[in-house]
């Protein structure tokens, strides 16, 4: 296989607030290969969006601060060269967001915003004259851009694409707006797309349609994608590989089917248990909350909530990524580096039965105190 398109290496980000310094990302590592879709899965507040914004170069700084790490795009470290980052951001990378209601300017027809993205993306500055021209809707290749927009909206299965271009966001439903946002993100034919929970705010039926559309784009345009979600079910539908994130760290990486067949990390197991099965609501697979970032737990950050916690190890020794079999890493003291996958899966299965025997997961910490 060739070099990965994106290689995030040891990325650490802190936020300075009046409460103190929050170490929101703590040495995040992952890669995305060409044409591959990788899902970043974790609870709200685990640092998924911060990761995405760091990659995109739109992290607000201050209060955010990238304290270490590299973000290599086709091998070039974007953190070392802001100009290159700006360039890439406009041309090759793009991003779609969670809430379609707020990510479109309410005061222009959607076509105007799309045309600006098509025309000015990646430009350093514009003259007052160009601002005026853009305001009045004049631009050199207006016809070509309009055609391109219509074609994209059509591919997004938007009925009456031409009319839609002249409508204001308030005239469109949430699902339609999200399609417009995706079309806008694709108008400059990027090769890499970040999707930050693009279906979360939508109805379940609309969610499926959006996922179908994204999958279609990925195959047709050979897009590489980083898909962020808190929902493993959604990740299963879209991703080739899954990175599980907890409290600013990646805790497990693996192929989608492997993660589902044999989750290794206790946190992954908890997440799988909490996939909504019938109710549509999230179950309560894991107790407790994401820890306080100003003073994270020692050792493994997950140990206060972990059903398989080992006193004296998990709360003391920092945890590293262990390669387990091929294409699989897990950050958990239950495993050892270089372990065979089968062996690890056996340990995990053992732990899982143990979990199930526990009558009350709320007292998960009890075992270690014995």
């Amino acid at each position: 296989m060739t070099d990965p398109i994106l290689d995030v290496h040891d990325l650490s980000v802190s936020f300075d607030t009046y409460e103190g310094r929050h170490d929101v990302l703590n040495g995040v590592n992952f890669t995305i290969n060409e044409g591959e879709t990788v899902a970043l899965v974790g609870e709200t507040g685990c640092g998924k969006s911060v990761t995405a914004r760091s990659v995109m170069g739109t992290l607000p700084r201050p209060p955010g601060d990238i304290t270490s790490g590299k973000i290599r795009y086709h091998g070039d470290n974007l953190l070392a060269d802001e100009d290159a980052h700006e360039q890439v951001k406009g041309d090759q990378m793009s991003m779609i967001f969670q809430d379609p209601m707020t990510y479109l300017s309410p005061v222009y027809p959607v076509g105007s915003m799309m045309a600006d993205v098509a025309t000015y993306s990646g430009r350093k500055d514009v003259s007052s004259w160009e601002i005026l021209k853009s305001f009045l809707g004049h631009r050199e290749n207006a016809e070509e851009i309009r055609e391109r927009s219509i074609e994209l909206l059509d591919r997004m299965r938007i009925p009456d694409p031409e009319g839609t271009l002249d409508r204001y966001p308030v005239e469109l439903s949430g699902g339609m707006r999200q399609r417009v946002i995706i079309a806008m993100a694709l108008i400059n034919e990027p090769e890499f797309l970040i999707a930050d929970e693009p279906t979360t705010a939508l109805d379940v039926t609309v969610q499926d349609q959006i996922l179908d559309l994204l999958r279609e784009r990925v195959t047709e345009q050979n897009l590489s994608m980083l898909y962020i979600t808190h929902n493993l079910g959604v990740a299963r539908e879209i991703a080739d590989r899954i990175c599980i994130m907890y409290a600013g760290e990646i805790v497990e990486v693996g192929r989608t089917e492997e993660i589902f067949d044999a989750p290794l990390h206790p946190y992954t197991r908890g997440l799988l248990d909490s996939i909504p099965k019938l109710t549509g609501f999230e179950g309560s697979g894991i107790d407790g909350q994401i820890p306080d970032y100003t003073n994270p737990p020692s050792g493994c950050r997950f140990h206060p909530r972990c059903p398989a916690v080992m006193r004296g190890t998990c709360d003391m020794e920092p945890v590293e990524h262990y390669a387990v079999g091929e294409d699989r890493t897990v950050a958990c003291h239950l495993y050892e580096d270089g372990m065979e996958f089968e062996e690890a899966a056996a340990i995990a299965a053992d732990e899982a039965t143990y979990d199930n025997e526990e009558p009350q997961p709320a007292e998960a910490g009890v075992r270690s105190k014995q």
Binding site: K89, D91, S94, M95, V107, Y108, V117, S134, E171, A185
Partner: protein, 341 residues
Amino acid sequence: MGYRDYLIKRGLSTIPMFLGLSVLIFTLARVIPGRPARLALGPRATDEAVQQLREQMGLNDPIWQQYIEYMRGLLQGDLGQSLISGRNVATDLLEYFPATFELTTLAMLIAIVVGVPLGVIAGQHKDKWPDNASRLFSFFNVSLPPFWAGILLQLFIAFQLGWLPATGRIGDVSPVPVETTGLLLVDSTLAANSAAFISAAQHLILPAITLSLAPVADIARMTRSSFIEEYDKDYVEGLRTHGIPNRLIAYKYVLRKSFASTLTIIGLDYGFLLGSAFVVEIVFSWPGMASYGVEAILQKDINAMVGVTLVVGAAFLIVNFVVDILYGFFDPRVWHEGESE
């Protein structure tokens, strides 16, 4: 609801406001304490003379009948006779209104042209020195009594430095511009009379600046706060993510939305400006409607004062109507969402 429906609905709602306004002004002027004829003639007039004038002005009729008479006259362009000029008040107002309109409109233009960029700059540098300086400047501006600010400008710019004339509307120029609109800048342009244009402009500058001081401050503060609020919105992040240059985001997207809030302040400030015009016109001996109104009050010329107040109130209503029209343009949601707003 379409834009047109919104405009019609908004326009129709102005009519009852105007009727209410006319009732209010009419009542205030006749009822408190209700002796206009006596006031007009002065304490030494005989009772017969007062009685005669009351009869002549229709003051012996019940107040609602007087009002209906007045409104009937208003529809025909008759606002009653002025005691000072002896002419119909409508004729007087037609003569004086353009001077006031020219002055207040120019003042408002200055206020917008200065205030909006000031607000944007303050918003972009929130809590840094440009913001603090603009804040202090605004406080000074709104605290200045307009008549005193005018006098200071006269003292320094006109008397001390001699750069601009202190009083009046136009100097000795020949030929005098032909009156078409009554707005000297427009008339002299139409007549291609550059001497008159320059003189009129020179006379306009000081009073217009004086009037614009407080609105500049209001507009700057309003623009600043709505700009900051708007810059925090998600779609701004979206645009930045797509690598759109900051200036395009600030001036095409953010400013347009935040200008809608600024517009409402402009509407209110126009009323404030019409009020200040009463003192500023006196300071600069500006031959406008406000000077006429002050004279009317001092001479107890009730018809003239009712006419002036009515025109000011109507102008204020019209300006706010125009503001709403523009608001609909800058923020289309008001007419999309319709009644729910």
